[in-house]
Structures are given as C-alpha cells and as structure tokens.
C-alpha cells in the first residue's frame, strides 16, 4: 500500500512535468494576480483592513464558546435547529437522518469545503439520494468525478474544450467553444434541479453571533437558489466560522472578495437566519445549522497554532504559493490544497500521515504576506515539522543522517574531511557517468537536473592558496 506521502511525491513529479497543466494554472493565477492588484487599490489602507479582519477573528476565536452559544440561542429563537458534530461521521449521520425523516430524494448543494472534508455527498448517495453540486465549477468537477481542484475555483485546471466535451458526454449537450453557451447549458440543467430538490445544503462563509445568521457569498446566485427554493435547508460549517457582530461584515465581505478574486465585493452576500417566517412569501420549512468540530477544538487548544482557525478560506495563500503554481491542486491529495491545507490537514487527518505536506513549501513566506487575516502560515509549517520530529515520525535513516550531519558540523577537521570525501565521491560518479542512475546516491536531485562538475579544491583550499596562508 502506498502512503499519502509517496502518492504526493508521485503526483507532484508528474504534474510539475506536465507543461500544459502548468500553462493553465499560470494563466489562471496571472488573471487572479491582476485582479487582486486592481482590487487592493479600492482600499484606502489594505494593511488596516487585514488588521481589522485579524482583530475580528482573534476576538471570535479566543471567545469561541461565548459566540457559538449566542449564535445557537438566536437561531433557536428564530425557529432553526443547531447540531454540534464531533466529527464527520456525526455530521453525516445527522444530515442523513433529517433527509430520511423529511423524505428527501434530491439535494442541491452550494459550495461547502466542509462537505468535502466530511465526504457528505458520498454518504447521501449511498442512501439513494441524488446530490447535485450547483456552483458551476463544482458541477463540472462533480461530473468528472473529481474533487475540487482549488477551494475558490474548483475547475481551474480545465479549459472550455474539456468542459464542452464533458457536457456532451454527461448531459447530451451540443458541443460548443463558446463559454457563455456552456454557462447557459449548466444554468438550464441546474434550474430543473433547484425546483425538484427537497433539500438545499450550503456552507457558510461566516456565522454571525449577534444576529443568529449564516452568510454565504456567491457570484453565480446558486447559493441563493439553494437557500430559497427547497423545503429543507442545511447550513454545514466549521465551529471556527463564527464572528461576533453583523457590522464586522462591513470589513470582512470586501476583504474576502478582494483576497479571493480581486472583486471589490462579491455579487451576492446572503444572510439566512432561519426557516420561512409567518407572513413571508417563500423559504424553507426547516433550517438546520450543523457545527462541525472535527479536530478544530484541539487546534484551538494549541496556543501556538490557534490562529490557523482565523482562516476565512479566501484561497490567497494557495494562489501565491510557488509549489501550488507548479503542481496544482490535485497533487496534494487532500481537501484543502496549498499552504493553509498543508498546515491544517495534519490537524484534521493526523500528523504522522500528513506531515510530508509541511515540506511542500520553500518557506518563502509568500503565503504569510498575502493572508488577509495575518496567519503566519510558513511559521506554522515549521511548527508542524518540529512537532512531527518530536512525535518521532521520521525514519531511522533520516535520524542517522542528521546525527552524521551534526557530528560533521561540530568540528572543522571533520567538516574538511567529509567535504573532501564528498567531492571525491561525486567526481568519481561524474567521471563514470553514473549521474542520475540508480547507483548515484544523489539521484533524487540529479535524475531531473544536471549537477555541475565538482572542483578538486574546496573554497578553503583556494582561499589559503591565493592569500598565501600555510
């Protein structure tokens, strides 16, 4: 059986050699970078906005019990239900129970990364319920039977030809190279789903304590239809999404939009506070909020990394990451790709199996620079590396290697000796043309790269010779 780490290395090697794939990612990220550059000019002070967002999330996360209870109280007052789920299984179980009780046969979903995290759709499909993703990008990857490629742009890796071919195969649509026509095909198809589904499931970008409302942000309007038409509504979210006050959104909405896509504000910022009330024209009969812990309260207990719970899932760190730009979203093999995913996944799925993601980074800090809530992402990658070492997850070969490295570095004489040994060995390998072959101990590096020939003398030797030191 291959481990997650081996699978990651295999896919990363494959994807970074796929130039067409890299071209598509580069095109997308260039568009994004240009948009964000324009978007930031709309703020008088972008740094002040980041600080304000940090302040809001800090306040919420450090008083999480108080704000969650206030939220719960308000939702109940307004006729909604709140369920607290320890893990994915409990959340799936609760939602499947609601679906069974209310006779649900079809579900329309708007984007929810937590639903990906807990594999909700698969569980509902097992019960014989049809689950339809309604965000265009999510709809496309669902038809391809793939997980989302990116948390904001799920179908970033596909071009119009691939989408057209997919729609022809799966929906029986005419082939077209015209993106507006592709969108129209999806709109027509999904409209039928909105009006035949009994349940709408959404995520939540924020949940608001003082109003008892969840807010979802979409450009397409699918999130609005999911929360308006079906008779049962479920909002699925992590416990860390709570914010204290409604007016916090005056900063969070524009900042999330600009960091996420470069827009000044997203088209639709919807607030939902419960089922249809007496006197209202429409809306669901039942409204359920499922608060998922799934490792988050343990992350909360880790003072050093608590701020990872500030994340508003804008995707800025993913777009900025040179590793993501080369290997793309699927190579990570986890729900949340990129720097935030590399930090978060070991907490959600276990450090031993996912500590390799902490090394999928050059530690350049680009992620930390762009984070709109000031999460010190690259420091947390280092924390995870250290914690993994302390937990003893590294191999005995690595331990031995580090011991030898330490032994070498602790004395100038040993350093000189090992240096000359290394130079000689590499010269021999080079001379015998063994570079990059199975006999080359440097193979992981040299199989894809030409190493320069090793000089006979070290820098120290040259210095002493040129300066006449004996």
């Amino acid at each position: 059986m291959t481990t997650a780490a081996q699978e990651f290395l295999r896919k990363a090697a494959e994807k970074s050699a796929d130039l067409a794939h890299r071209g598509i990612v580069r095109w997308n990220i260039d568009q994004y970078d240009a948009g964000v550059g324009r978007g930031k000019t709309r703020f008088a002070d972008w740094e002040a906005a980041r600080q304000r967002c940090h302040d809001i999330k800090w306040e919420a996360v450090n008083h999480l019990d108080r704000y969650l209870l206030q939220f719960e109280q308000k939702v109940k007052e307004n006729g909604g239900h709140v369920f607290w789920a320890e893990n994915g299984e409990e959340a799936r179980h609760y939602i499947c129970d609601v679906a069974a009780r209310t006779g649900v046969k079809k579900v329309v979903k708007s984007k929810s990364m937590v639903s990906e995290e807990i594999h909700l759709a698969q569980a509902m499909e097992k019960m014989g319920i049809e689950v339809v993703e309604t965000d265009l990008g999510e709809f496309i990857v669902q038809l391809r039977n793939e997980p989302p490629y990116h948390i904001v742009t799920p179908a970033m890796h596909l071009n119009r030809q691939q989408v057209s071919k997919l729609f022809k195969e799966k929906l029986g649509a005419e082939e077209t190279q015209d993106p507006p026509e592709l969108v129209a095909i999806a709109r027509r198809w999904l409209r039928k789903s909105f009006f035949s589904a009994e349940m709408g499931i959404s995520g939540a970008n924020f949940i608001i304590a003082d109003a008892g409302m969840v807010t979802i942000t979409t450009n397409e309007g699918n999130g609005r239809l999911c929360t308006s038409v079906p008779r049962i509504q479920v909002a699925l979210t992590g416990i860390e999404k709570v914010i204290p006050r409604l007016q916090d959104l005056a900063t969070l909405w524009p900042t999330l939009a600009t960091a996420g896509t470069g827009q000044p504000i997203t088209c639709y910022n919807t607030l939902i506070g419960g089922p249809r009330r007496a006197g209202e024209v429409d809306g669901p009969e039942e409204f359920h909020v499922v608060l998922v812990d799934n490792g988050r309260s343990e992350l909360l207990a880790d003072l050093e990394q608590r701020e990872v719970l500030h994340c508003i899932r804008c995707g800025a760190c993913i777009n900025a990451c040179p590793v993501f730009r080369n290997i793309g979203g699927h190579a990570y093999g986890v729900t949340y790709p990129g720097p935030i995913g590399s930090v978060l996944t070991p907490h959600l799925r276990g450090l031993p199996e996912y500590q390799h993601l902490s090394y999928a980074s050059s530690l350049c800090g680009a992620c930390t620079d762009v984070c709109p809530v000031h999460i010190e992402l690259h420091h947390h990658l280092l924390h995870n590396r250290r914690n993994a070492i302390h937990a003893g997850t590294h191999s005995s070969a690595e331990r031995l290697g580090m011991k030898m490295f330490r032994w070498t570095m602790m004395s100038a004489g040993r350093f000189r000796f090992m240096g000359s040994l290394g130079r000689t060995a590499l010269r021999v390998i080079h001379g015998m043309r063994l570079e990059g072959t199975a006999l080359d101990p440097m193979r992981p590096w040299t199989k894809d790269r030409a190493a320069p020939a090793m000089p006979r003398e070290s820098f120290r030797d040259l210095w002493r010779k040129q300066n006449g030191v004996r």
Partner: protein
C-alpha cells in the same frame, strides 16, 4: 434540540472552554481608515453601478419612474412579470403594465418562467453600488429567479458605505424582522471557465435600479 439528543455539544463546548482559558497572542498593526469616505453618494453609486454592470436610471418623479420601468419591460420577450406587493408599486403599476400578466407577491412566489421581477429594497450602498434586499421585498426568490430584476428605490434609501448600511440594518431591525437578507452587487456572474467573466449564471442577467429623486 435537547442536549440529550446531541451529547457532543457538551463535549465540544467543554474542550473549547478549557482551551480559551488561555488567550492567544494578538498581532498588532495599523488601525487607520480602511476605506476613503464617500463624499458624493449619488455620484459614487452611479459610478459603481457602471463598474459592476448594474443599469442605474435616476428619475425625477413617479411618472418618470413608471416610464423607465415600462421601457425596460418593452424590451423583454412576452411572459409573466412578478412584483412585490407594496403600495408604492401598486401606485406605479398603471404607468408600466403593457397588458402582460402581472403576479403580485401576495399571490405566492414568482413562477420560474417569469420574464422580470420588480421589487423595492431596504437600502442602496454607494461605496459598492449595492442593493440591500430582504425577504420583505417579495420573498427570497423574487430577487434572484428571473433573467431581469428591476429595483425601485428612493434617494432617501441611499447610504454612503457598508458601515452605514449595517447601522441601518440594526436601526430598522432588518435582520431581526426577516429570515433572509441579501446584499446584491451587480447581476449574477461566473468566471469558473478559464476565468472568463460571463453574466447570468444562475441569477439575473440584468439588474436595473430605478432611483427616484423625489417623493
């Protein structure tokens, strides 16, 4: 939900309470003004509308508003129109109906095949060129379902920025009176295919604000 049905609630809360006994370090930074103040709300609103592809028509009086709405309707294919049942729109209706069927929100939610919906709003936001609507504006579907959404608003509803909009939400109890509130900025769009911007993904392709200066 009784806590007996949800034993995890106490376990999760217990872990949270234990964790937040200690407060995490806070990152300190600049606390300046985030957005430049909006000096001329009407001018800003119109500019933002152009940028986010909202058609904004400023009218002098009720007759001009009815004419503006009639103009939009004349450009649409035949079919039913839906309107929020409100005295202001009832008063305007004789000036804009062109003989096509008109369904009021008091008769239930709009038909999926409606050609356009006409609603009022809770507020307009100059900073972002946004329209704040609630369930009271003809229901949840009224402001998303049709290919064209026409909003009738008055100048007194225009607030300079998002902070002022939320102040109004609290003041008028908009979030507590309604199960649903939405801040709409431009018409529905997607850039999920090759980052190409396409209008009218799931919601309206055209968003039209008729902004009446008087009355």
């Amino acid at each position: 939900m009784a806590s007996a049905d949800n034993p995890s609630r106490e376990r999760i809360l217990g872990r949270i309470r234990a964790a937040v006994q200690t407060t995490a370090p806070h990152h300190d930074g600049p606390s300046g003004q985030i957005f430049a103040p909006v000096t001329d709300p009407l001018d800003r609103f119109q500019k933002e509308c152009v940028a986010n592809i909202t058609e904004c028509m400023v009218t002098a009086d009720a007759a001009a508003s009815a004419a503006a709405i009639a103009n939009v309707l004349a450009s649409l294919p035949p079919g039913e129109i839906f309107a929020q049942d409100a005295p202001e729109l009832r008063a305007l209706v004789s000036g804009f109906t062109d003989g096509r069927p008109l369904r009021w929100s008091s008769e239930g939610p709009p038909n999926e095949a409606s050609q356009a919906t006409i609603t009022l709003c809770e507020a307009l936001v100059a900073q972002t060129g946004s329209i704040l609507v609630s369930a009271a504006n003809g229901g949840r579907q009224a402001t998303v379902i049709a290919p064209v959404h026409i909003v009738f608003a008055r100048l007194s509803q225009l607030v300079p920025d998002l902070e002022a909009a939320f102040a109004r939400v609290y003041e008028q109890g908009i979030a507590s009176r309604n199960s649903y509130v939405c801040l709409i900025t431009g018409s529905s769009r997607t850039a999920d295919i090759e980052k190409i911007l396409i209008m009218g993904a799931h919601g309206p392709r055209r968003l039209i604000v008729v902004l009446q200066k008087t009355g």
